[in-house]
């Protein structure tokens, strides 16, 4: 799966969590722009983990602040 396809799939997954319909770019932040609280983060991460059959541990999540970093992380985890 290439980066564009992973990006498209994550865009689909983020929609139900993007309550205010913010336009999402690589530099869109989860805590700031999208206002994700800890419960939303858990549900969103679970949706991504199930879609790609991967684990994104909390240690890895701590390194992911914006959308672009998330796509990169999923690309990397897919490759592992």
């Amino acid at each position: 799966m290439d980066r564009a396809e992973i990006d498209a799939r994550i865009r689909g997954l983020i929609e139900p969590f993007n309550k205010k319909g913010i336009s999402v770019g690589d530099d869109t932040t989860f805590a700031g722009d999208l206002e994700f609280d800890s419960l939303t983060v858990m549900d969103f991460v679970a949706a991504i983990e199930d879609e790609f059959d991967i684990i994104i541990s909390m240690n890895q999540q701590a390194e992911i602040e914006n959308y672009g970093q998330l796509v990169d992380a999923v690309c990397k985890l897919q490759g592992d």
């Binding site: 609280d37 419960l39 858990m42 549900d43 679970a46 983990e49 199930d50 059959d53 991967i54 684990i55 541990s57 909390m58 240690n59 890895q60």
Partner: protein, 399 residues
Amino acid sequence: MTDLFSKFDPLIQQREALLASGVEDPFNLVMEKVLSPTRAICNGRETILLGTYNYMGMTFDPDVIQAGKDALDNFGAGTTGSRVLNGTYQGHKECEEALKDFYGMDHAMVFSTGYQANLGIISTIAGKDDYIVLDIDSHASIWDGCSLGNAQIVPFKHNDIDAMGKRLRRIPEGAGKLVVLEGVYSMLGDIAPLKDMIAVARKYDAMVLVDEAHSMGFIGPNGRGVAEEQGVLDQVDFVIGTFSKSVGTVGGFCVSNHPKFEIMRLVCRPYVFTASLPPSVVATAATSIRKLMHGGAKRAHLWENSRTLHGGLKALGFELGTGEPQSAIIAVIMPDLERGAAMWEALLKEGLYVNLARPPATPANMTLLRCSLCAEHSAEQVQTILGMFERAGKAVGIV
């Protein structure tokens, strides 16, 4: 100079706004006198206690108190040292023997608090490249144990067996795995489906740690907790518990059948680098634990209290944390913090103390009035409590 305290400003403002409404400070209550396990003078009023963790009412047990007095006379006020240096007295060993007998396990290690037991065991046994899979609603001491260590942390949705299994399945082959669960979750008073969860953990070769802080002494045929009640205690690698609830004093412990468990005493930093419990505390704990082994009649009465309060509050129209009573904790869900605080104060003026629990300690940002029952609450007291809830609930407009 940047004021390092400016990060607390939102909380300071929220607190000031709450107190400006004239409500008594829910987080600054003083008990001037304690009359019994169920009654105290709080802020000048005689009050029924319905927000302590004194589930089995052992705090004023005459044998327990005598054991503490004797230890004070014979061993002094404190040990002034670590368990691994000069801080292990006869009483600490007797306390560990009592725990081994209580749980029927080979090893017991006493910590200075329950918080430190979770902090120490979790951070020590799960190292770098190991995985900790834990319930998202875990107690702060479990999360802090995760933070103190270096393991990969993977949470799953509360009590969701399928979500836990999926995460365990995806962990890289060969990595060490620790599943951390609680018997009773203390905010809503609900229990975990340990039998099914532990079966899944075993399927993926994970070790299992269960915190039974809120079930010890009460749940299970011998009061060993939810794992005993569900017939899977022999499948649990580590049981964590506390002396500050049913046992009636302070302290924490881990019991285990792991053949190498004793090495923990040398490698577990929150055990090594702190002073051990005072002799009077371990003496009261050991006496209380041995008495709890024979607490069948008290357990039955506590269940009766839990069912009566749960059924009564439900009939009055309060929204509760669980559909059925599952433990000695009954959580009453409040519409918001303001009305929760108003209801808390109305109950206090009626002469009833409950816990006001609020985010971030609560799941899903709920405000809760948490009631915890005691085996020493009489049936009449429970009826009195229901009357207080009815009057306060109507005055505040919640029912």
